[in-house]
């Protein structure tokens, strides 16, 4: 896909995600695109999802594909902040497949399990981001349903999820940065726009650096066979999104603090996405432990 085709795809995705049609991914031809060019599909859709705060079930589809389940399986994602827990809780995202006959249960590094409906308890969840979160899910006595997926698919699903979420976090970071840029260019005090102040400019410059770091890391996460690259990408993207939203909360001042201003929706989304599959500070610890295990610092990307 060349640069022009890419640009057209981004525009189509943007239009679909900001429109009112009930199945944007179906209209896009996600299945075909993902099968043919997974990197293009994930990069484009997840970055736009981040930018537009859309709530489509793209993460469920990526994870389902990595695990090798299809049909009416509900994907339960590791609980924010506790992705290493093998159970008993997880979340189902809004826009995802509603609780149904079988749930696919992910835990970090462990095998994916298919749990029957009768063993699962569902609670609606709003939490920090009511648009993103759907249900909290717990299991007391797991009842296996059907043939379990290949054990290697658990780690593969974590990698795929982290990589996709990294793209989405980059999108959130960029959209938030744009909000802040617009604000500081328009808002004046003491006869000058806020953008003329060096402390303001430097804060936004640091956000730009963080986004660039995240962006190059996501590219390496596709090119590099070492799974560590996806974890690095998610950690850097989480930090970029947190840096952008924190800068936005400071620089957009009082008006940015209101419910009506769009900023807090980006803050909520950044926090929630950062928390899925390992928040950036938790991932730093996971990376450190992995490096200790390997006995050296891997050089990712050539």
């Amino acid at each position: 896909m060349d640069a022009d085709e890419r640009e057209m795809l981004v525009a189509s995705v943007h239009q679909l995600l900001t429109g009112t049609r009930p199945d944007p991914l179906g209209d896009l031809g996600w299945d075909e695109l993902f099968a043919a060019e997974p990197a293009v599909a994930v990069t484009t859709v997840f970055e736009e999802k981040g930018r537009t705060l859309a709530t489509i079930d793209s993460l469920d589809r990526v994870v389902a594909s990595a695990v090798g389940v299809a049909g009416d399986v509900t994907i339960v994602h590791p609980v924010p902040g506790d992705h290493r827990s093998p159970g008993p809780a997880g979340v189902v995202l809004a826009g995802g497949r509603r609780p149904s006959s079988t749930t696919a249960w992910l835990s970090s590094g462990g095998p994916v399990r298919l749990i029957a409906e009768e063993a699962v308890a569902w609670y609606p969840c709003q939490g920090i981001d009511a648009d993103l979160l759907g249900w909290q899910v717990t299991v007391d006595e797991p009842v296996e349903a059907g043939v379990p997926p290949n054990p290697t698919t658990g780690p593969a699903a974590i990698v795929a999820a982290r990589r996709a979420l990294a793209h989405e976090l980059v999108g959130v970071a960029e959209a938030t940065q744009n909000l802040a840029l617009r604000h500081v260019l328009e808002r004046t005090q003491f006869g000058h726009p806020l953008a003329a102040l060096q402390s303001v400019r430097h804060r936004l410059a640091d956000v730009h650096v963080a986004i660039e770091a995240a962006r190059t890391a996501t590219a390496v996460a596709w090119a590099e066979p070492d799974d560590l690259a996806a974890t690095v990408a998610k950690a850097l993207a989480g930090r970029a999104a947190r840096a952008a939203t924190a800068a936005g909360q400071q620089l957009c001042g009082a008006i940015g603090f209101t419910w009506d201003h769009p900023l807090h929706r980006y803050v909520r989304r950044a926090l929630a996405l950062d928390g899925l599959y390992g928040a950036s500070d938790e991932l730093a610890g996971e990376i450190g432990a992995l490096l200790a295990e390997r006995g050296h610092a891997p050089r990712l990307g050539r």
Partner: protein, 384 residues
């Protein structure tokens, strides 16, 4: 030369790894950690520089006209990566070679033919002489004068902060050929043999305890026409060209070195979640630097101009250096505070030097200004 299989990065890397493995015991003499006198360390490293040039590995990526074996500059990136992977401390000569060499190779062919081979092989080292006591980030304010004379030029002035100056025999100097008010328009880049009468070099001791820098007094020093790099009054363009490489391959060498420090730290053992997080933080900062400057190295090797985008590389470089040493402080606090052996001394030197990473080559505040104005479209700062 076109048939040389080592011109491809894959075979070059394989061949180099094999050579490093074979030379194992010999190369241990240049392994991490190391501390002490800058000049002694620099001269000790010349042994490795000579070895790599004689074996040919460091000639790849330089043009045949400059004593090189041809091939993309990306081969040099492979060299620095592989040396650091093998636990070898990168000779500081290469930092300056990578900053000054590309400019001379591109814009001073006579100089490149006569002097660059000697630099690559460690026979004659150069330093960079841009800053002055009154000229740091505001490079266009410099005053060192290059006046025309009947046999070429005469150089008079005072340069400061010349890295590794006390170990070098030549300097690349940015001087004023225009009127005092000509700012960036009246500058010329010139190469100066420091053995020429009128040159007086004095070391500057940094808070690392090492003579990291030197100041050079030029008193009516004779300089020939062949020593001009680029065009007369084209010094600003030459400096901007050069700065790209400082952000590219210099940054790449630093990420190789920082990765090497993490290799050592991790091999020494990581104890508990606090230390694990420290290692992870440091690694993330180095990854961010590596990823970004790898792209810059590739762009420069392909002949592209990178422009203000490399201010991002510079910020990432300063952040990576300081994050790594801040985390190493946590991981090896006893060595840092009370260790009097090589490990403690090297850690202290590195920790102090990392504080300069946000100052040299253009202060981090200036980089943020550039990002804000040229990459984010926030307009010029009021008052300028």
């Amino acid at each position: 030369m076109a048939d040389d299989p080592l011109l491809d990065a894959g075979p070059y890397r394989e061949g180099l790894r094999r050579w490093i493995a074979e030379e194992g015991p010999v190369l241990q003499g240049w392994s991490l950690p190391r501390s002490g006198s800058m000049v002694e360390g620099y001269r000790h490293d010349l042994g490795l520089v000579r070895l790599l040039a004689a074996a040919g590995w460091s000639r790849y990526g330089w043009a045949p006209e400059a004593g090189g074996r041809g091939g993309s500059a990306e081969l040099r990136a492979v060299l620095y990566d592989e040396l650091a992977i093998a636990g070898i401390r990168l000779p500081e000569l290469y930092l300056v070679l990578e900053t000054l060499g590309p400019l001379v190779q591109a814009q001073a062919p006579v100089l490149a033919a006569t002097e660059l081979p000697a630099f690559i092989s460690g026979e004659r080292s150069w330093c960079q002489a841009f800053s002055e006591p009154e000229t740091g980030s505001d490079l266009a304010s410099l005053r060192t004068r290059l006046a025309s004379s009947d046999q070429g030029w005469r150089l008079t002035g005072h340069k400061m902060w010349c890295s590794f100056g006390a170990a070098t025999e030549a300097a690349v100097v940015l001087a004023r050929t225009g009127t005092p008010e000509s700012r960036h328009r009246g500058l010329t880049m010139v190469w100066v043999d420091l053995r020429t009468p009128g040159c007086d070099l004095r070391p500057i001791r940094a808070e690392t305890g090492r003579d990291e820098f030197a100041e050079i007094f030029f008193d009516d020093v004779a300089v020939g026409n062949d020593a001009i790099i680029g065009a007369v009054d084209g010094g600003w363009a030459a400096a901007m060209y050069l700065l790209q490489f400082e952000r590219g391959m210099y940054a790449w060498q630093r990420q190789a070195y920082l990765h090497g420090l993490l290799d050592v730290a991790v091999a020494a053992g990581v104890d508990g979640p606090g230390e694990e997080r420290a290692v992870g933080d440091a690694y993330l900062a180095v990854c961010a630097l590596r990823n970004k400057c790898r792209g810059t190295v590739a762009a420069l090797a392909a002949g592209e101009t990178t422009g203000p985008r490399t201010s991002v590389d510079k910020v990432l470089l300063a952040t990576a250096e300081q994050t790594v040493f801040d985390r190493l402080e946590l991981l090896a606090r006893d060595a840092l505070l009370t260790g009097d052996g090589q490990r403690g001394k090297a850690l202290r030197e590195g920790w102090f030097f990392s504080r300069a990473a946000s100052i040299y080559g253009g202060a981090i505040e200036v980089q943020r200004d550039i990002i804000a104005q040229h990459l984010l479209g926030l307009g010029a700062v009021r008052g300028r």
